[in-house]
Symmetry: C2
Subunit: 364 residues, 2 copies
């Protein structure tokens, strides 16, 4: 089936670009000497997870127990929940899951460590526990240094938990546009990590792993020699927001190709300056900016409502026709994927695959 016959709005993967990205990252992390544990919060798909693992990834990260359940059910046997899991219901699911796969989780709270151990004990499973330190993101995580050591000691004292290292993700650095500013942010973050590792060593605790890093910064984390494992996920799809980062030579970051698109239909052309697409908030997430129109010069996506995307047609815009299908690059890939139930994989404009977004809505 040609791409033009796909009903819209639809989430499209350009398979050539997608595979290019997977292979490029595989080579990149190999040359940098770090492990790669891609973040499944981007793709939400065991199909894609297995493809990443096939080219060298050591497993997957995710943020929620429900995502981990879907990954394990889909054939992934090493999953790190790179996030805190709080509440008995969730912890019992996590502990049960740890009987079926290697499961890790992050902590930033003493009480939570006891609760995880109680759940693991109940299920007779073992959970790898990493201490999350806040290296500048200002979200979760303990202050680097002594507070992290205290948590590591608590983990070590538990019957069913294993201290497995540090979760150190500088989320705020991912979209710092300037190359050197982004690099400096990670170098600063690395000092916090090193300080913590040193204090852990002083307390007789080995730090088996430092994990973190995203598509915007993974080369810097790897370059510091402090991180063992990087978690970049968006590289497989890219989006408008990551495309605005700058590389060392001042160009836009296009090392990885845009492989993810929302296909939309022109459903109204009220006048020469305006056309309306059938794709709005329900088809493309706008938390990090509006989507961008592919291939059509002087056509700009200027506003979204729930079901509509409004385009302005400039002087040099081609004439659009009712029913014409247009590709949009999402502003932010992860939450855009979460709006769709399946990916339509396309190669040379022919539909090749349908992959469920199996962990769509898996927020619990």
């Amino acid at each position: 089936m040609p791409i033009q016959d796909i009903d819209t709005p639809a989430l499209i993967i350009d398979l050539d670009s997608f595979e290019h990205n997977l292979n490029l990252m595989s080579k990149s992390v190999a040359s940098l000497g770090v492990a790669h544990r891609p973040h499944a919060k981007t793709h939400k798909s065991p199909v894609i997870a297995r493809k990443q693992i096939a080219v060298g990834a050591v497993g997957q990260c995710c943020q929620k127990v429900s995502e981990a359940e879907i990954l394990v059910a889909g054939g992934v046997d090493d999953v790190l929940v790179s996030n805190q899991v709080v509440g008995q219901q969730k912890l019992e699911r996590l502990a049960g899951l740890a009987r079926h796969a290697k499961i890790g989780v992050c902590v930033d709270n003493l009480e939570n460590i006891g609760a995880i151990n109680a759940a693991s004990s109940k299920f007779g499973s073992q959970i790898d526990v990493l201490v999350e330190i806040d290296i500048g993101a200002g979200r979760c995580g303990v202050v680097p240094g002594a507070p992290a050591v205290k948590l590591a000691e608590a983990i070590e004292s538990m019957s069913h938990l294993k201290f497995s290292g540090l979760q150190a993700y500088q989320g705020r650095a991912q979209h710092i546009r300037g190359f050197s500013e982004r690099k400096v942010a990670i170098e600063k973050a690395s000092e916090y990590v090193l300080k913590t590792i040193k204090l852990l060593g002083g307390a007789g605790i080995d730090c088996p792993r430092v994990t973190g890093g995203g598509t915007g910064t993974y080369q810097f984390e790897a370059g510091t020699g402090v991180w063992d494992e990087i978690q970049a996920g968006s590289y497989c799809f890219m989006d408008v927001d990551y495309g605005l980062n700058l590389t060392e030579d001042g160009n836009y970051f296009d090392t990885f190709q845009n492989s993810l698109f929302v296909l939309a239909t022109v459903m109204s052309i009220p006048n020469k300056e305006r056309a309306v697409l059938d794709a709005g908030h329900k088809a493309s997430a706008i938390d990090s900016g509006l989507p961008k129109v592919m291939d059509l010069p002087d056509v700009e996506f200027v506003s979204a409502s729930d079901e509509h995307g409004t385009l302005t047609l400039g002087r040099n815009a081609p004439k659009l026709s009712l029913g014409q299908k247009i590709r949009l690059i999402p502003g932010h890939c992860d939450p855009t994927v979460n709006l769709h139930d399946w990916y339509v994989g396309v190669r040379n404009n022919i539909v090749e695959s349908i992959w469920p977004v199996a962990a769509r809505g898996a927020a619990f």
Copy 2:
């Protein structure tokens, strides 16, 4: 089950407030002398649609064929797609559906009218067609007046279509904060509608219905005497954005109660000034602003990422505990509902019902 046992993030309906809103709107439209066709793009649920119809609504609106299919399958027998439907695949589904329920659709394009008729002919069904006029929203719709008459004439000339009136929705007016400014916007819009009705009359075409209006303005549309039917949908849930509108006496618009909440768990308390919830972009849509924390003074939801919501805790904030569950009022109800698979209905803090968000993701 008490509300505190619901795993999070979860979409909660306070059933008392929800029923209050349904009954209040039922009385309001009756006293205003207009029909009510609530917009299902808010709730995406045949269960709720049937409850609205039970208290007097004449049917439902929706924006997409896939929503209409789900409404009809769920027992709603009168559905207006208050939007353009473009493309043979969608039109054939619409025409097929018209064999099972009374179906209406909007047009703003001559070519589209022929395509709708071709689909209806193929299925031997009849579709009610309304002409959408742009009364200030600047999205879809033809210019009021002569262009609308031309389309109405074309509809009348078709074998399987029936001209059924004007779709006239001033989307931009819904969230104008000031009462009188909002009223003026609708009064101005009403002139465009009247002008079009007059021209239709001059061409010998009766306009059987004018439909439009939302939760922010429906009283004004009804007050002009020009609209026969109002489409307000958000009134059943309300959200932060609608709550910022002002009433005639300058107070915040709280005629309808907040009945929709995202229940979230405190998953991290890094310090005295900050706590983190397990609900971010995947649990509450932020296109019209951030969610608002219920019941907790001096606690503010200040930022969202995909899976996290960050709270700042002011001086007068109560002490939060890990695992504590907190209700959020969504910034914008419609796209928030679209992130969830079910509603948990709660009365007096006890879970009473689970209703599927049956048209979640129905964007095609």
